[in-house]
């Protein structure tokens, strides 16, 4: 049993979870009070929007594209949530639906014109930011009550963020890894030609994947506003890089449709916890960003070592 668990392949799969467990253990050791209902709630709260953003980025990476506008997009959806969705729910819901459609359209544009997604999304980040500034010129707005009460839910025994994260990872994992449509969607990232030859429309796949990314981007913005209660046009800009790092930490690859939804959620939580870990260490807050980079490099280095041993055996 133990020997089976220690093969390079399973080590590789387990690596994200092991990294997260190690980080959590270190945090519990440094600050035992986090090991409570309340502590875990505080610790993991902000991991929920980051995880949603990471899952959004994962859909894009799955079809061999990269979204450098995700942070700006989530800022925009947060602004819409805190203004229109609060004041005139119908208009807000329509605007958010429009955001999802815009993302699907972006996927179509990138596919039809065969454009580099990096550049298109970099350009779009300006557009999202511009709209966000128009909607909410100064920080403010108010979270709709139902989102606020959902995000501050206090279920018995298990803190809400843990339930939300498990449900998120589970649903996406089943939908993408265990269902028939999921296989086609991932296959389009692995070998577009063969999926196209088999009769599937790559255009549709790209639109669905970008649309899903838009949907989860919207959810991330809503969850974020539910936690912060107000929004501003720059609220989520750092999510772009965090989401890419989260997918890679969780075992995803850049090409070939090799992704892991549960891994992506774990990766996002690891990055979110890295900040808390440092503050418990009483390390200089200047190193917050640096530590995220260091953790990323460390996990990738471990992955290389595991791969090397796999190649040898």
């Amino acid at each position: 049993m133990i020997a089976r668990l220690l093969t390079p392949h399973s080590l590789r799969t387990l690596l994200p979870a092991v990294s997260l467990a190690a980080l959590l253990a270190a945090i519990f050791y440094l600050q035992p009070r986090t090991m409570s209902y309340f502590g875990l709630n505080l610790l993991l709260n902000l991991a929920v929007p980051i995880a949603l953003a990471t899952v959004a980025q994962m859909f894009i990476l799955c079809v061999n594209d990269l979204d450098l506008s995700l942070g700006a997009f989530i800022s925009l959806t947060a602004c819409i949530t805190a203004t229109w969705l609060h004041d005139t729910p119908l208009l807000g819901a329509l605007a958010l639906a429009g955001c999802v459609l815009a993302y699907a359209g972006l996927g179509a544009l990138i596919h039809l014109r065969n454009l580099p997604s990096i550049v298109v999304t970099l350009g779009m980040s300006f557009v999202w930011m511009g709209i966000a500034v128009l909607i909410l010129p100064t920080p403010g707005g108010k979270a709709p009550d139902w989102i606020r009460s959902l995000m501050t839910l206090k279920p018995a025994l298990i803190p809400f963020p843990i339930i939300a994260l498990v449900v998120l990872g589970g649903i996406v994992q089943i939908a993408l890894m265990r269902s028939a449509p999921g296989v086609v969607l991932r296959g389009a990232g692995g070998n577009p030609q063969s999926v196209a030859r088999a009769g599937w429309s790559i255009l549709r796949v790209k639109m669905i994947m970008f649309g899903l990314a838009g949907l989860f981007g919207v959810l991330a913005g809503m969850a974020l506003v539910g936690l912060t209660t107000s929004a501003d046009a720059n609220i989520a800009l750092r999510y772009t890089l965090l989401s890419i790092a989260g997918v890679i930490l969780g075992g995803g690859e850049f090409t070939g449709g090799r992704i892991s939804p549960i891994g992506a959620v774990i990766g996002a939580v690891t990055l979110a916890l890295a900040g808390s870990f440092l503050s418990f260490l009483r390390l200089n807050p200047d190193w917050q960003i640096g530590a995220q980079g260091a953790i990323l490099i460390l996990v990738l280095a471990l992955r290389v070592i595991i791969n090397r041993t796999a190649a040898k055996s």
Partner: protein
């Protein structure tokens, strides 16, 4: 090949069009002033874009995301070491270049040793560099030595001195790209790295030199930008990430790698600066300006995009 088929021509046509609009709105006198400003600011875009262009030309997945962090770190350390004293100018420049060299080596080391895509390697290393800069700088803005500030803002017959020097650099890099062993190796690796390696080109050495070039140019750009704008600031490199990539692509360099050109970098840099200026002169609000900038970038790429991926 006729002029219209050159990949860089579109950025220059765009520049000309925006130029005419600006002159149309605010007159010839103001127009020439704007053009002079465009040369000043565009020069800095060109410096980093040259490095980014070589990196992008290496092939799909090659992008240097650590350029802003490299600019910030190199200029912060250089400004602090110089401490505003003009006798320390040369050591300051050397330190900036040394930091660029270290960053380039680290980036390549990560790509090579961890076998990760360059995007992730430069992304994670940039986190480290940015943190180092924050820790080292402590939020202070150290003034550049007087001669550096004078040099960075000097003008020769109305043309910024730096622009002239960078123009010379562009010509040198043009020769390197098309006529030197290194430049041709970069193009070959970008077109087909396996074929290049079978033809005896040292692929890894080419990649190392490319990432070194990019980081050193970013460091030099940061050094002079700090002189130009009155000191190093932690967010000084922010817009250069997007700009370096946008300028390379709008300038007609293929994102798929293997095909690059330098004239387009100048055209695209001037275009990007003039575009923002034009939207400013039109008196639009910040939000509309951002939207139009983004929409025009995406539009230009969507119209001109297809040719690059053949």
């Amino acid at each position: 090949m006729s002029l219209l088929q050159k990949p860089w021509i579109w950025s220059w046509i765009g520049t000309l069009a925006v130029c005419l609009v600006i002159i149309g709105i605010s007159g010839l006198g103001a127009g020439t002033q704007v053009l002079s400003a465009a040369l000043s600011f565009g020069t800095f875009f060109v410096i980093v874009a040259i490095g980014q262009m070589f990196v992008v030309t290496l092939g799909p997945g090659n992008v240097d995301l650590s350029i802003p962090a490299c600019m910030t770190l190199a200029s912060t350390v250089a400004m602090k070491v110089m401490g505003g004293s003009s006798t320390m100018l040369l050591p300051g420049l050397l330190i900036a270049i040394a930091i660029g060299t270290i960053i380039g080596l680290l980036n390549f080391g990560l790509i090579r040793l961890l076998r990760i895509p360059p995007i992730i390697a430069t992304l994670s290393s940039s986190f480290l560099f940015q943190s180092t800069a924050i820790w080292y700088n402590r939020g202070l803005r150290v003034k550049p030595p007087e001669p550096l500030a004078d040099f960075a803002t000097a003008k020769l017959a109305g043309v910024p001195l730096l622009a002239i020097l960078v123009l010379v650099l562009t010509v040198i890099m043009h020769v390197i790209l098309h006529h030197s062993l290194f430049g041709r190796a970069v193009l070959a690796v970008g077109q087909n790295s396996r074929a290049a390696s079978l033809a005896g080109i040292k692929v890894e050495r080419t990649r190392l030199l490319t990432y070194l070039t990019s980081a050193v140019l970013a460091a030099i750009c940061g050094f002079f930008l700090a002189g130009f704008s009155g000191g190093a600031a932690l967010n000084m490199g922010e817009e250069y990430l997007l700009m370096s990539i946008a300028v390379v692509v709008i300038g007609g360099t293929s994102v798929a790698g293997g095909f690059a050109n330098l004239p387009g970098l100048w055209g695209a840099s001037l275009f990007m600066f003039l575009l923002v200026t034009m939207l400013n002169t039109l008196g639009l609000s910040a939000g509309i300006r951002l939207i139009l900038t983004g929409a025009i970038i995406v539009g230009v790429i969507a119209i001109s995009g297809r040719r690059g991926r053949t």
